[in-house]
């Protein structure tokens, strides 16, 4: 088969698996994204490669994975732009102290547990090409992330954007997202500086300058985009082309600064005008292609790197169990206690904890980054993928247990709902 034929066949197969397994998961009340993550694992060495190694080698020959990887990276850049676009500083207003406390505690507690866990994992799952500090910081961050898009999707499905629990969870996830991406950028910079590609001072100084430029100079300068949109009443191809060029230029810049292209894409999304109609219009133009075509490629590529066979033996499964346990204890427990201290009731605080514990595909983004820069090993990658799946799968049942949907429904009537949830950009299918 030619390279193009192989790629086309791979894409078709990935879409079929992602959509069909996604539908099955949706039937069981899970977000579609969990099914798509599982589809990636099914197509990888864990299932297809184990059951039919010959077929797997024919469908996904190692030499063809470069093309798949490149396409999936483009998809991720577009996805991170959408994540940034969904981030609206307004959701944080009025939540003040509780949101700040909960978001920071929900980052720092699992981060602390992750670095402590690294003391046990480092001699067993790493090697001396990675310093303990980089390893521990990365494990800490990968325990700390929340899947903002998955969380937003769950809130949209339950029409909870205007319920105090939903609004606070959204604000916490947004604040936490910013913190986690900044921390991750710092760790990636430190690891890459160790490789000698770009000096650390240049990476940190350059990134800070660039972020400052984007927030304080480019952001006000980009308000005209919204005016153009309002004048024309739609996002024209020229306008969309300009936005995509911005995304690519910013991704290129952060990649060359020594952090990662993903951060640049996220930054552009975060600084664009936040008028809901504008955000919705831009999202709608990009999202379907990203969600239906490009993100499943990323899931498949992640699945091809995930080999459950690497988690063999009692000790390896105990390590995986420990990772899941500490990830849940840190994120769910940390958020719960912080929200309770911040003034919420136990049940509401528990619901916040359950929502913040979802990691979804944001965790996969972080883990793939760690594997790419060599800071985590293939076995730890697989264990963490299992953790991401488990924590995402448990979100809805746990939420239902703590704060049943009927209770939310009864309470939602007490709160004004100025716009349908489906009109909120965060409620779109990018989860």
């Amino acid at each position: 088969m030619t390279n193009l034929s192989t790629l086309l066949l791979q894409i078709a197969l990935i879409i079929v698996f992602a959509r069909s397994i996604g539908v099955v998961f949706r039937y069981f009340g899970q977000p579609q994204v969990v099914g798509e993550m599982a589809a990636g694992i099914v197509l990888g060495p864990s299932v297809l490669g184990w059951a039919a190694p010959g077929l797997s080698a024919t469908l996904f020959p190692p030499a063809s994975l470069g093309q798949l990887s490149a396409l999936s990276q483009v998809g991720l850049i577009a996805f991170m732009f959408l994540v940034g676009l969904e981030l609206d500083p307004k959701v944080m207003r009025g939540r003040g102290h509780t949101a700040l406390l909960t978001s920071q505690v929900s980052i720092v507690v699992p981060f602390c547990l992750g670095t402590a866990l690294a003391l046990y994992l480092y001699p067993r799952l790493s090697d001396d090409s990675v310093t303990f500090t980089n390893f521990a910081l990365f494990v800490g961050i990968s325990m700390s992330v929340t899947a903002f898009p998955v969380l937003a999707r769950i809130l949209a499905e339950r029409n909870l954007f205007h319920h105090p629990v939903g609004a606070l969870a959204l604000a916490c996830a947004a604040l936490g997202d910013v913190t986690a991406w900044c921390l991750l950028a710092a760790v990636v910079a430190a690891v890459r500086a160790g490789e000698g590609s770009t000096p650390l001072w240049l990476t940190i100084g350059g990134s800070a300058l660039y972020a400052g430029f984007m927030i304080f100079v480019a952001r006000p300068g980009l308000r005209w985009l919204q005016r153009v949109y309002e004048r024309r009443g739609r996002v024209s191809q020229d306008l969309l082309g300009f936005v995509l060029l911005l995304v690519l230029a910013s991704a290129w810049t952060t990649e060359h600064l020594g952090i990662h292209a993903l951060f640049g894409a996220f930054l552009v999304g975060a600084i664009l005008p936040k008028d809901p109609a504008f955000v919705r219009a831009v999202t709608e133009r990009i999202e379907d292609l990203v969600v239906v075509l490009l993100l499943p490629l990323f899931f498949a590529f992640s699945g091809l790197r995930t080999s459950i066979a690497l988690v063999s033996g009692t000790e390896a499964w105990l390590m995986t169990g420990l990772i899941v346990l500490l990830a849940v204890a840190g994120k769910f427990g940390g958020s719960l206690i912080a929200a309770r201290v911040g003034g919420m009731g136990w049940r509401e605080a528990g619901a916040i904890g359950a929502l913040m514990n979802t990691r979804g595909l944001v965790e996969l983004v972080v883990l793939n980054l760690g594997l790419d820069i060599g800071v985590i090993s293939p076995a730890l990658f697989t264990m963490m993928v299992i953790m991401a799946l488990v924590t995402t799968l448990m979100t809805k049942p746990l939420l239902e247990l703590i704060y049943p949907a009927r209770r939310f429904e009864a309470e939602t009537d007490e709160f004004a709902v100025p716009e349908p949830a489906s009109r909120n950009p965060a409620a779109t299918g990018a989860a």
């Binding site: 080698a57 190692p62 102290h97 406390l101 920071q104 505690v105 720092v108 507690v109 981060f111 602390c112 670095t115 402590a116 690294a118 003391l119 480092y122 001699p123 067993r124 799952l125 790493s126 090697d127 001396d128 090409s129 990675v130 303990f132 500090t133 390893f135 521990a136 910081l137 800490g140 690497l310 206690i337 912080a338 201290v341 911040g342 090993s377 293939p378 076995a379 730890l380």
Partner: protein
């Protein structure tokens, strides 16, 4: 004041925990790194022709994926591939000792077994590998020398023996 009283212990204490873990962890050592793509620069067949190795053809490179002491070695031949799993056998604890000591590794699949030693102090880093096919005899059927990230496009220098 109330905010500070809540914020300081709830964020400050875990941060101290992070600092403590990072401090304690600096004394830890991880197994030596042998992972990466190793390009075969020399290949010898000192033993009889064995079916599993014949099926691979000339081996061009070895990809070693490492997770702690565990390794997975992918042999990429001109006719096929073989995946072997195993581990590092012995390695010195201190960085100083590691510099001059070869690192032993061992891996196997259903049909092949591999022993080798990695010298990270040579330039470029070098791995010497003996491949045995147990069903075909106990003597190494193929011996390889590979360099870490060697020059692209250069095939192995073969030394066929009768």
């Amino acid at each position: 004041m109330k905010v500070l009283l809540q914020y300081a212990p709830m964020v400050g204490v875990p941060l101290l925990g992070v600092a403590l873990a990072l401090r304690v962890g600096t004394h830890l050592t991880a197994p030596p790194s042998v992972g990466g793509a190793w390009r075969v620069v020399e290949s010898r067949d000192p033993g009889p022709a064995c079916p599993a190795l014949t099926a691979l053809g000339e081996i061009r490179d070895l990809r070693i994926a490492q997770s702690g002491p565990g390794i997975r070695v992918l042999l990429r031949g001109e006719l096929g591939t073989a995946l072997l799993t195993g581990s590092l056998e012995h390695w010195p604890d201190s960085a100083g000792e590691r510099a001059g000591t070869p690192i032993q590794l061992r891996a196997a699949s259903e049909t092949l077994s591999l022993t080798g030693d990695v010298r990270r102090d040579s330039l470029p880093a070098r791995v010497r590998v003996d491949l045995t096919e147990p069903a075909c005899g106990t003597q190494p059927a193929r011996q390889l020398i590979a360099h870490l990230g060697g020059p692209a496009g250069t095939g192995p220098r073969s030394t066929k023996q009768p």
